[in-house]
Each structure stands twice: as structure tokens, then as C-alpha cells.
């Protein structure tokens, strides 16, 4: 006999319990929906949505479908997450390194920052920035220009828009520069391994990434002009800026609080990573004659990154999930647009909540699969 009753018993019981619970829920859902006259189905996604969203990256108005509304929400979520991740990483790395500084003042300042922002609920921080701090900004007509081109007002941040001519040539030049840099890096590594020659890769890379786009301006016919926002009077007391790009205050408050909050966690990851590299490693590297820069680049960073990257990715994921708090200040993200407005209109609770959850789930699981793959790739193979 290959199987034993002792092994089968507990498993069977668990499965039966799970099946019973789910069966109970489905049965009730069916009964409830029948009694309320709701039918189950995802057909509503192609219906006309007939509600407006105040901020969207793609063209959208009430005549578009619910699916389009879903896309608007998803894109807004991704936008705020990307902005948040960008600033949180920069701030987090700076604070994390500052935490390790031998300078007492810098060290304590960074520690204070981390302890302060980490221990206040994110929602409270979002409310603080949105309802208290950003409300203290000037009205559009009183706003002073920042560097003469951008305006930070109570109605949002107005920045100049880029107007490109022949943008694709510029884009190709950047792609070409990046490819060239990658090739040069590989070549330089080969050179070093076979002949021991050092190539100034960094200088060449900086040169390439500056010169190629510059060339595209000079000979490729790329033109860049700015559209500066201009104050326009709507009524006697109502002013607005026209032209340029306007970022709504909700987005600013959300991105600000998300990056300030997540940066504390990233800072701790960075600190743990750098501290995790043994002192002996640095000393050994120095004793074989590497310069301090080489020690950092070739010995400390590769090992520190191995410790830093997995928890930091986790924080990125958390930031993305936390961006759903946008619903609290009416930033039109996935939760607000889809699980809020669309749900209220259609009443399709099960379908909409399941789609929303499934979207976040897909995002999380795909990133964790990527992470596992990366972890396996960089793991130190021990004999």
C-alpha cells in the first residue's frame, strides 16, 4: 500500500472543510442574488460608464466603457506608485547611508527622521499633507513662480509641458546610447579579465549618454520647446493656470506621504544591507590593494545589494498596495474609480471587488515570482 490513512485523514478533513465553507458562501450568494434580482456576469464592463474622472492619463469621459474607467484607475495607481517609488528610493538610500555616518549629528538626524515618520499611520500622514499642509498654499493668483516657470498653488502644481518635435529620433538616440554602454561594459569586463586592463567605463558612459542625445538635437532635427502655464481669469475671483501640465493636489499629497513613509523602511533595509557586509570583507579587499572606491564598488555593494534588494522590493510592493489609500482623499485610483464609483453605479459588488483584488494580486504575485527568480540567481552557491 502506497498511502496511509494517517496521511490522508487530516488532508481530507481540511479539504472538506474548505470546500464546505466555499460551498456555503456560493450557495448563499446565489440565493441572495436571486432574491435581489441581481445577475452575475462581467458584461457590464463594456457598458457606458456615464461618470467622469477628474484626473486621467488617457482620454476618458462618461461616454467610455467601464473597462476604460478601470484602465484609468489602474494607470493612476501605477503613476502614483512610480512617483512614490522613485522619490522613496532616493530619500531612503540617502537616509540609510546617513544612518551609518560617523558624524553624530547626521546620524541622529537620520534616526530621528526614521523614528518619526515610521511611527505615524500612513493615512494620518496623507490627511495631514492633503487637508492641513497643502491647504496652506497660496491661491493661483497669489502664487509665486518657482524658477519662473512652475507654480505651486492650492489647486495643484503647474509645471511647463515639454513639446517635442521628432521625439522618436531623440528616443532612439537614448536607446542607442544605452545599448552602446552595455556593449562597452561587457567589453571592458572582458578586457580586464583577459589582459588586466582598466577602462574608464564611467566616463565613457556619461559621455555617451550626453553626447548622443545632444547630437540628435544638432543634426537629427529634434526640437524641444516649453509651454509655460499662464494665469487666466475665469471670473472676478476665480483664477486658473492654462497650458503646461497640472498635477492635482491629491497626487502631490499622496506621492509625498507615500515616499516619506516608505523611505523610512527603505532606509532601514539599506542600513541593514551595508551593515550586513562583514568588516573582514572590507579589510581583505583593502589589503589586496583595492582603492576605497573599488572596495565599495566591487566588494561591498554587490554583497550589500544581495541583502538590500529583496526587502526593498517588498517595500515597493507595500507602497503600491498602500497607494490604495488614495480613496481617502479622492485621488482617482483603482480603488476609488472602480471599487468606489463604478460599484455604486452598477451594484455588482462581487464582480468588481474580485476584479480589483485580482489586479493587486496579479501585481504582487508577479513581482514575488520575479523576486524569487532573482534571489535564486544571486544566491551564493555553497559547496
Amino acid at each position: 500500500m502506497n498511502f496511509k490513512l494517517k496521511d490522508i485523514g487530516p488532508q481530507l478533513m481540511t479539504v472538506i472543510a474548505v470546500v464546505l465553507v466555499f460551498g456555503f458562501f456560493t450557495y448563499n450568494a446565489q440565493v441572495n442574488m436571486e432574491s435581489r434580482g441581481i445577475d452575475f456576469g462581467y458584461g457590464f464592463l463594456s457598458q457606458e460608464s456615464s461618470f467622469d474622472v477628474q484626473f486621467s492619463l488617457i482620454e476618458y469621459d462618461g461616454s467610455h466603457s467601464y473597462f476604460r474607467a478601470y484602465l484609468v484607475g489602474l494607470l493612476n495607481t501605477i503613476l502614483v506608485s512610480v512617483i512614490g517609488i522613485f522619490f522613496a528610493t532616493i530619500l531612503g538610500v540617502i537616509v540609510g547611508i546617513a544612518r551609518l555616518s560617523p558624524n553624530y549629528l547626521i546620524n541622529k538626524f537620520a534616526a530621528f527622521y526614521v523614528e518619526f515618520f515610521r511611527n505615524i499611520p500612513l493615512l494620518l500622514q496623507i490627511f495631514f499633507w492633503y487637508f492641513a499642509a497643502l491647504r496652506a498654499l497660496p491661491l493661483p493668483q497669489d502664487a509665486e513662480a518657482m524658477f519662473g516657470i512652475a507654480f505651486l498653488t492650492i489647486k495643484g502644481l503647474y509645471v511647463p509641458a515639454f513639446i517635442w518635435q521628432n521625439f522618436n529620433i531623440f528616443f532612439y538616440s537614448i536607446v542607442a546610447a544605452i545599448i552602446a554602454i552595455i556593449i562597452i561594459r561587457i567589453q571592458a569586463k572582458k578586457l580586464q579579465e583577459t589582459q588586466g586592463k582598466q577602462t574608464p567605463v564611467l566616463l565613457i558612459s556619461i559621455g555617451l549618454i550626453l553626447i548622443l542625445p545632444l547630437l540628435s538635437f544638432l543634426i537629427g532635427g529634434v526640437r524641444l520647446s516649453f509651454e509655460v502655464p499662464v494665469l487666466k481669469q475665469l471670473a472676478t475671483t476665480s483664477f486658473i493656470y492654462e497650458g503646461g501640465v497640472s498635477l492635482p493636489p491629491e497626487l502631490i499629497a499622496l506621492a509625498l506621504s507615500l515616499s516619506l513613509y516608505t523611505a523610512t523602511f527603505i532606509a532601514e533595509c539599506v542600513r541593514a544591507g551595508i551593515q550586513g557586509v562583514g568588516k573582514g570583507q572590507k579589510e581583505a579587499a583593502a589589503s589586496i590593494g583595492l582603492t576605497p572606491n573599488q572596495v565599495l564598488k566591487l566588494v561591498v555593494m554587490p554583497q550589500a545589494l544581495r541583502i538590500i534588494i529583496p526587502p526593498t522590493t517588498n517595500q515597493y510592493l507595500n507602497l503600491t498596495k498602500n497607494s490604495s489609500l488614495a480613496a481617502a482623499i479622492a485621488y482617482p485610483d483603482l480603488v476609488l474609480v472602480f471599487a468606489g464609483t463604478a460599484l455604486m453605479q452598477t451594484g455588482k459588488a462581487i464582480e468588481i471587488v474580485s476584479i480589483t483584488m485580482f489586479t493587486y494580486l496579479t501585481l504582487s504575485i508577479s513581482i514575488s515570482i520575479l523576486m524569487n527568480w532573482y534571489n535564486k540567481k544571486i544566491a551564493i552557491t555553497e559547496k
Partner: protein
């Protein structure tokens, strides 16, 4: 006096450099100090940007002069080692000192000097500082939500009672120490549940609760006179017997109906709120999420594939979705999954949702601890003839949990910080109450004070929790 090279401070001219450097540094700090505290600009005669940068330049030169290695003066060496190691550090140190000096006066004046504390109406808040009167007037709402004013002693009393019962562990003698786990895991949550759902909620059920309390107190008092031999059986039987006696034979229902005994008013959970609701939710979620998380952590490491996959599915599902959608689900989707006549209170649904959500995180943390234990521990326990449960309860879990104290503390901190999210289902804890108060037409424009107030409260709670977890970690640290 030997020749002085001002570009190269050295030990031979130590005192010249020391006095010069300290003087310059002192001048730069003084300039900023006067500027920020007395709005005096002693360098006003200089052109704008120079006057702005002067303290930085002077301070930098001053710090450069006093950067003398091994000067032999203890304080100077300490200073150099800590804030003045090189030019870059010197500038950063100066910047931080200046930022602190610059930010103290506005913060002080907003918090205390220009703030208004007195009075109980908006009219007193005319200054530029904070209006703490607003917090004072709304204090009850921030603490208790919409809970009726006359009944708030019930919340206070239950919290004090629970705090006292919770501190039993500190006073327990060695004899009772072995029962502490049982007490905290089973009895204490049960008492807390009784307190909150019968005492704070009130209503006719309250009588059952009060019989229970009377029975418990009576039986404990009598228990002192019972010989040790019978104590176990005594506590097994007598409290329940007393309870039944009280309920059905002494204070029976007629008395209540006759109006001779007046019960506590029923307060529906929708009226609960404020900081007390934050505590209630955190408390229950904390209690429930731990055993669930432990079960799923064990499930994920189980040898049975089906149980393992179910556990993985559960954990990854909850970890993959934001809490706000989970609460949405509990609010709009969950009632659809229950029989039509079956109603679960909003607060209970919330607690279930948050507990399940946090349980997934606790499970992952505990799994980390289980994986960190060397195989030898499992094998040694098995070789002693222990079964699965015995091995886990007596050998594996005590060690694994000790290892993951920081992780669990972080999860609990996240839980406390997540409680404001219950605004989604319409429950208003302290942040929700702030948002409500801020829209009151009589008290417009005091959002800042409210949020600062709540931030301070949350900060104190979370900071205390993290420090406590650190102490706990140090206490249970064992060398292996």
C-alpha cells in the same frame, strides 16, 4: 612664535587655531541664533546672498581651523571625531545645527507661545499659533466617538480593569508563573471579550455578565479557604454552579422586568469611536491574528501537500491585496455570502477582516522563525519520541517565537497603524473623528491641530511598542 600657515592647522600653533576657530564658529552660530530667536540680522550691511551664506562660510572656516588631529584636548578630539571629520561632514554638521536653530522658534511659538489653551469656543483662537482649545472641546469625541457622554465611564472602567488584569504577569509569583501562558492565551482574551461586548455594548445581556463577575469574585474569595488538593476541581465546578444559581434562582428575570434592577443602556457599535475604538480593534485583532497566523505557518511547513497548498494560497492571497479592498469586501461583498437573515455586526466584520489580513503576515514571520531553527532541533525532539504537536509546542515553537519577536512586533505595529482604515466601512476611530470634527461649520480651519494631536498619540503608542519589543527581544535572547 613659529610661523603660521593658515591653510594648514597644526599642533604647534594649537591655541592660536583653537581660539580663532572657536571664535569664528561661535560667531556663525550666534548670527543664526540672533536671526531666528530675535529676528536680528547683524550681517544686514552685506549684500543679500552673502549675508545669507556668511554663517556657513564663517562656521566652515572655524571648523576647519579646529580640525587638529591628536590635539591632546579631550573635548576637541571628541568634537572632531564626531562632527568634524572632514570638510563635507563639517558643512553637513553646520547645516543641521542651523536648521535646528532656525526651526525651534517657529515650532515653539506654534505649539506653546502663540497657542491658545483657554476658553471653550472658537473666539479665543485668534493668534497665529495652534488652537488647542479645539482639541480640548472635542476631546471626548476624539476619545470616545459618538458614545453617549453619560456612559463613558463604562469604557474607562473596562480599560482600567483590562489593564489591571493584563498586568497580572508582572506580579505573579513563581508558583503561578507556569499558568501565565494559559491565562494570557485563553482566559484573558475571554474576559476582555466579555468586558467589551457585554459591558461597553451594554443592553440586557449585561446582567449575564454581571452574574459572571459576581460568581467569579465570590468563588475566588471562597477559593482561598479550600485545601490545595481540591482547588482544581473547585475552580472547575463552583464558578459555573454559582453563575447558574445567580442567574436562575436568585436574581431571576422578574426583578428586571419589574424595574427593580436597571440595566445598562445598550450602545450600538456604530456609536463607538475615537481612540477607544482604535484600542478595541487593535486589541482583538492582535489576539485573533496570532493563533491563526501560527496555524497557517505550521500549515505551510506541513508535510501534507494539500494542507501546504491551502496554506500557501491563503497566505499569498491576503498578502497580495491591500487592506482597503479587504475592508471593502467585508463591507459590500461579505453580506452577500451569508444567509439573508443572518446579520453580523459591522465592527465584528471589520475585526475578522483585519485579523485574517494580519494573520497572513504573522504566518510569514513565524515561518521565518521556523526555518531558521536548525534541523537538529526537530531531529532531537523526534528522537525523544515526541509526536508532531508535542514537538512543536514544547521544542520548536518556543524557540522559533523567541527568534521572531522583532518581526511580530513590526506586524503588530503595522496593525495598529492600519486601524484608521476602518473609515471605509463607516466606523470612525480617532482619525475618522478628526475628519468629522474638521468639517463642523463652527470649527473650520483647525485641521492641522487635530492631525498633529493624533500624530503625537499614535507616535507615542507605536514608539512605546517598538521599544517594548526591543526590551523583550533582549530579555529572551539566548545564546545558541
Amino acid at each position: 612664535m613659529s610661523k603660521i600657515n593658515f591653510l594648514k592647522p597644526d599642533k604647534t600653533n594649537l591655541y592660536t587655531f583653537l581660539y580663532l576657530g572657536s571664535f569664528l564658529f561661535f560667531i556663525s552660530v550666534l548670527d543664526v541664533l540672533l536671526n531666528s530667536f530675535f529676528s536680528l540680522n547683524i550681517t544686514g550691511f552685506l549684500p543679500g546672498f552673502l549675508s545669507f551664506l556668511l554663517p556657513l562660510i564663517l562656521g566652515f572656516i572655524g571648523l576647519y581651523f579646529i580640525r587638529i588631529e591628536l590635539s591632546g584636548i579631550k573635548q576637541l578630539d571628541l568634537l572632531n571625531k564626531h562632527i568634524n571629520t572632514n570638510n563635507f561632514n563639517a558643512i553637513l554638521s553646520l547645516l543641521i545645527i542651523f536648521i535646528i536653530l532656525k526651526s525651534i522658534p517657529p515650532i515653539l511659538s506654534w505649539f506653546f507661545i502663540d497657542a491658545s489653551f483657554a476658553g471653550d469656543s472658537k473666539d479665543v483662537c485668534t493668534g497665529t499659533g495652534a488652537c488647542w482649545t479645539y482639541i480640548k472641546v472635542w476631546m471626548r469625541r476624539f476619545m470616545y466617538g459618538m458614545y453617549p457622554n453619560g456612559e463613558q465611564w463604562r469604557i474607562n472602567l473596562s480599560f482600567i480593569a483590562l489593564a489591571l488584569l493584563g498586568s497580572v504577569g508582572f506580579f505573579a509569583t513563581d508558583k503561578f508563573k507556569k499558568y501565565l501562558t494559559l491565562y494570557y492565551v485563553v482566559i484573558y482574551p475571554f474576559i476582555a471579550f466579555l468586558f467589551i461586548f457585554f459591558f461597553i455594548s451594554g443592553g440586557p445581556v449585561f446582567f449575564d455578565f454581571s452574574y459572571g463577575i459576581i460568581a467569579a469574585i465570590l468563588s475566588i474569595i471562597i477559593g482561598f479557604f479550600i485545601p490545595n488538593k481540591f482547588k482544581f476541581y473547585y475552580f472547575l465546578i463552583v464558578p459555573f454552579a454559582l453563575y447558574i444559581l445567580l442567574k436562575y434562582f436568585i436574581f431571576f428575570e422578574e426583578y428586571i422586568e419589574l424595574g427593580k434592577l436597571d440595566g445598562l443602556n445598550w450602545v450600538e457599535t456604530g456609536a463607538w469611536g475615537g481612540l477607544s475604538l482604535t484600542f478595541i480593534i487593535s486589541f482583538f485583532c492582535l489576539i485573533f491574528c496570532f493563533p491563526i497566523g501560527m496555524a497557517f505557518a505550521l500549515g505551510r511547513r506541513s508535510g501534507f501537500p494539500l494542507i501546504r497548498y491551502i496554506s500557501i494560497g491563503f497566505i499569498e492571497f491576503w498578502r497580495g491585496v491591500p487592506l482597503i479592498t479587504v475592508l471593502f469586501m467585508s463591507a459590500v461583498m461579505f453580506p452577500m455570502f451569508l444567509p439573508a437573515d443572518f446579520f453580523i455586526d459591522k465592527l465584528v466584520r471589520c475585526i475578522i477582516a483585519i485579523s485574517l489580513f494580519e494573520a497572513a503576515y504573522v504566518a510569514e514571520v513565524i515561518r521565518g522563525g521556523l526555518q531558521a531553527l536548525p534541523r537538529g532541533q526537530y531531529e532531537a525532539a523526534k528522537s525523544l519520541g515526541m509526536g508532531y504537536w508535542r514537538m512543536h509546542i514544547f521544542v520548536i515553537l518556543p524557540q522559533a517565537l523567541k527568534l521572531v519577536i522583532p518581526g511580530i512586533a513590526n506586524t503588530f505595529l503595522a496593525l495598529v497603524k492600519d486601524t484608521p482604515l476602518i473609515f471605509v466601512v463607516g466606523l470612525l476611530e480617532i482619525v475618522g473623528m478628526l475628519n468629522l470634527a474638521k468639517t463642523n461649520p463652527e470649527w473650520l480651519g483647525f485641521a492641522m491641530e487635530g492631525y498633529v494631536f493624533a500624530a503625537i498619540i499614535f507616535w507615542i503608542i507605536c514608539y512605546a511598542m517598538s521599544k517594548y519589543s526591543y526590551n523583550l527581544e533582549q530579555k529572551y535572547k539566548t545564546d545558541r
